[in-house]
C-alpha cells in the first residue's frame, strides 16, 4: 500500500469514526426546518432550557431582550431571517457541544471495535477455514483515545482524526500499520 493516506484505496478509519459520530449527532439534532415556526420554537426551547443557551445566543450577536424572547417562544412574534439563522447557529453550536460531552461520557470506558481491512493483497487474511475467509479484526480502543477522537470531531478536524487513527489504533491492528490506514468498515456501538 504505497500511497496510503490519499483516499486512493477507500475511506480512512478516522473518516468512518467521524461518520459514526455524525450519525449519532444527527439522531439528536432537531430535524425541522430552521425557518419554520415549529423549528424556531423547538430550537429556542432547547436554548432556553439548557445551560449555556443564552450565552450561545449572545455569542451569535443576538442581544434579544426577554420580552422579545418571550414573544418568539409563545409563537406570537416571528423573528427576522437573520435572527432565525443566528438561532439555528447557536442551537447547533450548543447541541454539538453537549453531544460531544455525551459521547465522551459513553465512550469513557473504552470499546472493542471491529475493523475490516480493505481487501488488498498486502493485507493477510486472518482466519481461513472451510467456511470461508473471515477478515475482521478486533482491537480495544481506550477511553483516552476516544476522548481525543471526540475532541477532534467537535473541532471538525478530519486530519487530526486520521492522525489519531494512524498513531493510536493502527499500531495495534497489525503490521505494517499503513495497511490499516484505509479500511472497509469500522464497527462499534456508541
Amino acid at each position: 500500500m504505497a500511497e496510503w493516506g490519499h483516499g486512493k484505496y477507500g475511506p480512512t478509519g478516522g473518516e468512518l469514526i467521524r461518520d459514526a459520530f455524525d450519525a449519532y449527532a444527527r439522531s439528536r439534532l432537531i430535524r425541522s426546518d430552521p425557518n419554520s415556526r415549529r423549528g424556531v420554537s423547538a430550537r429556542l426551547n432547547y436554548l432556553t432550557s439548557h445551560r449555556g443557551g443564552v450565552e450561545a445566543l449572545q455569542a451569535q450577536g443576538l442581544a434579544a431582550r426577554p420580552r422579545t424572547l418571550r414573544g418568539w417562544l409563545a409563537g406570537l412574534v416571528v423573528p427576522r431571517r437573520s435572527s432565525r439563522e443566528a438561532i439555528d447557529r447557536a442551537y447547533r453550536e450548543l447541541r454539538i457541544r453537549n453531544v460531544a460531552r455525551e459521547l465522551r461520557r459513553r465512550l469513557a470506558d473504552g470499546r472493542r471495535i471491529t475493523v475490516e481491512p480493505l481487501p488488498a493483497d498486502a493485507v493477510p487474511h486472518t482466519k481461513q477455514t472451510r467456511q470461508g475467509q473471515f477478515d475482521d479484526r478486533e482491537v480495544f480502543v481506550d477511553g483516552g483515545t476516544w476522548a481525543r477522537f471526540v475532541d477532534a470531531w467537535e473541532d471538525d478536524d478530519d486530519r487530526y482524526m486520521d492522525d489519531i487513527w494512524m498513531d493510536d489504533v493502527c499500531g495495534d491492528l497489525g503490521s505494517p500499520p499503513e495497511a490499516y490506514y484505509e479500511v472497509a468498515h469500522v464497527g462499534f456501538t456508541i
Binding site: E116, G132, D136, T189
Partner: protein, 532 residues
C-alpha cells in the same frame, strides 16, 4: 457563489489550477498547525519550569530581607503578587465562616522532642518564614534525620500532637517505636491514603461490580445476596441490572476455546439496517399465530407450554460467523452457510396446518427470511421449489452458542430443582436480555448482530411448528399455535408415542413441556370457559 455563464475551457483550467493550489495550501496549513501545537506544548513545559525557578528565587530573596517593592521593580509584578508568591510571614487566615472547623495548619506548630535534649544538627530555621509546603518538607526531613539517628521518641511526639488537638482522634494509632530502624524508608510519616470510593454514575441503576476472571452463576447470585444483605428483591434487582454485562462475559468465557471467533460488529447489509429509531428492519421472523378453523365446537383443548423457548433455540441454530456477503448464485441453498434470504412466498392453502412462513403478513411480494425459517420450509414442503431471489450469507456454525446455552440450561435446571427463585429469574434475565439486545441495541455495546437475533427467534418459532407437526403425526388434533411457546392440542397427548418414546414428556427441562390449562372450544373457535 453561483455563475450562470458557463466557463470556457481556459477559465476552467485556471479554476482547476487554483483549486489544486488551494488544496495544497490547506495541507500545508494543517501541517503547520500540528507543528505549532507540538511547539506550544514544549513551551508550556518550559514556562512551568522557569516560573517555578523564579518563584523559588523570589522566596530566597524575601527570606534574605529584600522587600516586596524592590522585587516588584525587578520582575514587573505588583508587590501584592510578590507577597502572595513569597510570603514573608504566613498570611493571616481569611475570615472563617462561624461554626466551620478550623483550617488545617497543623504542622506549623509541632515541636520535635528529642530524648537527650541534644540540638538537631541542622542550622536553626525560623519556621514562621516558610511556606506551608516547605515547612512540611523540612519537618519530614528533620524527623527522618532524627529517626535515623535513633533519637526520636514517636510516642511522645504523638502525645504532644494529640494534646495540642492536632491529631484526628479517628486517625490510625501511632506505630510502635520498633518500626524505626536504621534503614528507615524515605518518607516516614506520609499521611495515610484515603481509599478511593468509586461512585456509581449519577442516575444509574444499582448493579453488581463487573465480573472478573472465571465466575459462575451461583457465585454471582451469592455475591448479589451478600451485597443486598439477604434481601431477595434487592438482590434480584442488582442481578437484573447487571444481566447484559454478565451475559456477554459468560459468552466470552464459553467461546474461550472455540475454533472461530465471531465478528462482533460487522458491516450490515441494507435489509438489516433499521430505517428509524423506532422502526423495525426488513426481516420477517415467521411468528406463528394460527387457529384451526376445522375444530368442532365443544372440543376440550389442552394448552401445552414449551419451556425456555429462546434458550432451547439458541443452543442449536445455524448462525453466520463472519460478515454477511452477497452471494453470486442465490438460487441454490448451501447448508454450510447461513444468513438472510429474499424469497418469493407461495400462497398457503392447507387449512389444517399452519404456514411455516408465519401468518399475519400484510404486504405481498418477496420477503426476507433467515436460515431457520428457510430450513423449516424446506422440511415442511420438501417437494416445493422455493425461489430464492437474493441472499446475504456467511460461513455458518450450528454450535456457536451451544456451550453458552448449555451453561445457562444447567444453571436453570439446578435452580428449578432447588426451588431457588433468585437464580431462576437471573438465568431467565440473562438469556432473554441476550436475545433482545444482541441486535442493534445501545444497551449491549459488545455485539451488534441483528441477524443472530432474528435467527434465534425464528428457530424458536420453527421448533414450535415442528412440535405441532409431531402432534399431528401422533393423530392429535392441533387447535392452535400461538406466540412463542403455546401449543393447543386436543386428544390424549400424555400417552402419545413418537418413535417408541413419549411424544410430549412433562417436566421443566428444555426438552419437556408444561401443561398449563384446558378450555372448551366455542362456536367460532374461541375459548368458551375455563375447564378443570
Amino acid at each position: 457563489m453561483t455563475r450562470h455563464k458557463p466557463l470556457t475551457a481556459c477559465q476552467l483550467a485556471e479554476l482547476r489550477g487554483q483549486i489544486q493550489l488551494d488544496s495544497g495550501r490547506i495541507a500545508e496549513i494543517g501541517d503547520r498547525q500540528r507543528k505549532l501545537r507540538a511547539e506550544l506544548s514544549e513551551l508550556a513545559g518550559e514556562l512551568r519550569e522557569v516560573t517555578n525557578r523564579r518563584d523559588a528565587q523570589l522566596q530566597d530573596a524575601r527570606r534574605n530581607g529584600v522587600t516586596a517593592e524592590e522585587l516588584a521593580a525587578d520582575t514587573g509584578l505588583t508587590a501584592g503578587r510578590i507577597r502572595q508568591i513569597a510570603p514573608g510571614r504566613p498570611a493571616a487566615p481569611r475570615g472563617r465562616r462561624p461554626g466551620a472547623a478550623p483550617a488545617a495548619r497543623r504542622r506549623t506548630e509541632v515541636t520535635v522532642t528529642v530524648d537527650d535534649a541534644e540540638p538537631a544538627e541542622a542550622a536553626p530555621v525560623d519556621v514562621h518564614q516558610l511556606a506551608d509546603a516547605q515547612l512540611l518538607a523540612l519537618a519530614d526531613a528533620q524527623l527522618l534525620e532524627l529517626a535515623r539517628g535513633g533519637r526520636l521518641d514517636v510516642e511522645t511526639l504523638v502525645d504532644q500532637a494529640t494534646a495540642a488537638g492536632l491529631v484526628d482522634q479517628a486517625a490510625p494509632p501511632a506505630p510502635a517505636a520498633g518500626w524505626i530502624t536504621p534503614a528507615a524508608p524515605e518518607s516516614p510519616l506520609a499521611p495515610p491514603k484515603r481509599p478511593v470510593v468509586k461512585r456509581p454514575p449519577v442516575g444509574g441503576k444499582a448493579r453488581l461490580p463487573k465480573a472478573a476472571g472465571a465466575w459462575t452463576i451461583a457465585g454471582r447470585v451469592d455475591q448479589a445476596l451478600q451485597l443486598a444483605a439477604g434481601d431477595m428483591e434487592a438482590a434480584g434487582e442488582l442481578l437484573a441490572n447487571s444481566a447484559v454485562e454478565d451475559v456477554m462475559s459468560l459468552l466470552d468465557q464459553a467461546r474461550a476455546g472455540a475454533r472461530y471467533d465471531y465478528t462482533a460488529h460487522p458491516a450490515l447489509p441494507a435489509p438489516l439496517i433499521r430505517p428509524g429509531r423506532k422502526q423495525a428492519d426488513a426481516i420477517w421472523e415467521a411468528r406463528p399465530h394460527w387457529r384451526n378453523p376445522t375444530t368442532p365446537a365443544g372440543t376440550v383443548v389442552d394448552v401445552l407450554d414449551v419451556n425456555g423457548a429462546y434458550l432451547a433455540a439458541l443452543r442449536r441454530v445455524h448462525l453466520p460467523i463472519g460478515k454477511l456477503v452477497q452471494d453470486d448464485d442465490p438460487t441454490i441453498y448451501d447448508p454450510k452457510r447461513a444468513g438472510i434470504y429474499l424469497v418469493d412466498p407461495p400462497s398457503w392453502v392447507a387449512q389444517d396446518a399452519p404456514n411455516p412462513l408465519g401468518e399475519g403478513r400484510t404486504e405481498s411480494g418477496p420477503m426476507w427470511i433467515t436460515t431457520p425459517t428457510l430450513r423449516l420450509f424446506m422440511r415442511a414442503a420438501p417437494g416445493f421449489p422455493l425461489r430464492i431471489l437474493e441472499s446475504w450469507t456467511s460461513g455458518a456454525s450450528e454450535s456457536l452458542l451451544t456451550k453458552f446455552g448449555d451453561t445457562l440450561a444447567a444453571a436453570r435446571m439446578a435452580a428449578i430443582e432447588a426451588g431457588d427463585d433468585v437464580t431462576k429469574h437471573y438465568v431467565q434475565d440473562l438469556y432473554s436480555r441476550f436475545v433482545s439486545t444482541a441486535g442493534d441495541s445501545a444497551a449491549n455495546r459488545d455485539i451488534r448482530r441483528p441477524e443472530w437475533v432474528h435467527a434465534i427467534r425464528s428457530q424458536a418459532f420453527a421448533n414450535l411448528w415442528l412440535k405441532g407437526a409431531r402432534a399431528a403425526t401422533c393423530r392429535l388434533h392441533v387447535h392452535a399455535i400461538l406466540g412463542t411457546d403455546e401449543l393447543h392440542v386436543a386428544g390424549d397427548w400424555r400417552s402419545a408415542l413418537w418413535n417408541g418414546r413419549p411424544a410430549f414428556p412433562e417436566g421443566r427441562s428444555l426438552s419437556t413441556i408444561k401443561f398449563k390449562r384446558s378450555y372448551v372450544v366455542g362456536e367460532r373457535g374461541e375459548e368458551v370457559k375455563a375447564h378443570g
